[in-house]
């Protein structure tokens, strides 16, 4: 997997970037894509906004996934965010830090800035212990 991208561009270009699979709207001028950005979308973004900045987010962001039937229940022990159903993107406080959360058929994927990776893993482990 391991591709993820941050798109910083004006509103219209960001709207185009949102067509990519695994795209989440961070703000009016920022889109986060968990996965690859197809070439045609990338070209369209740069056409509408030649000053758009598309940077790999692999280094700066770390992902910890919760899968299995109890993924949502485990997530509910980490955050008060309401998860989209059945799939989608939400951002806000997760385990008391800023998180970006993608939900799809495979589970709940939590991303945090890389300096919190170790911390997030510990918190996820705690809520995954058998009770």
């Amino acid at each position: 997997m391991d591709e993820r991208w941050s798109v910083h561009a004006d509103r219209d270009a960001c709207d185009i970037a949102m067509r990519a699979r695994g795209a989440g709207r961070v703000a009016g001028d920022e889109v986060f894509v968990r996965g690859a950005i197809p070439d045609d979308i990338r070209r369209a973004v740069l056409t509408v906004d030649p000053g758009a900045v598309i940077r790999s987010a692999v280094e700066g962001w770390s992902e910890v996934s919760l899968d299995g039937g109890d993924a949502r229940d485990r997530f509910s022990r980490l955050s008060s965010l309401r998860l989209p159903d059945p799939a989608g993107y939400v951002q806000g406080e997760v385990a008391r830090v800023a998180g970006r959360v993608f939900v799809d058929g495979e589970g709940v994927h939590v991303l945090v800035p890389a300096y919190w990776e170790s911390y997030l893993r510990r918190r996820v482990e705690e809520v995954s212990l058998p009770r």
Binding site: R25, V26, A27, G28, E30, S80, V90, Q91, G92, E93, V97, A98, G99
Partner: protein, 73 residues
């Protein structure tokens, strides 16, 4: 609960508060002192700045009644 235009209504603990909305600059040194150091501090609805630190990390301007703490959009 604070309304963020990108992320929806969120607990205020996800934000930092930026004070009441002020002009960006002032005409001269004297009026700048008032602009920075003397807020209007209304008892009633004021516009104020909130930064969504744990979410989109963008600023928004929110209307809040300082006497009832009710927040509007």
């Amino acid at each position: 609960m604070v309304p963020c235009p990108h992320c929806g209504w969120r607990p205020s603990t996800e934000f930092t508060w930026g004070g009441e909305l002020r002009a960006v600059d002032a005409a001269n040194v004297e009026s700048d002192f008032a602009r920075v150091v003397l807020p209007r501090n209304v008892a009633g609805v004021q516009e104020e700045r909130w930064f969504h630190l744990l979410g989109c990390r963008r600023w928004s301007t929110v209307r809040r009644d300082t006497t009832t703490d009710e927040v509007g959009r």
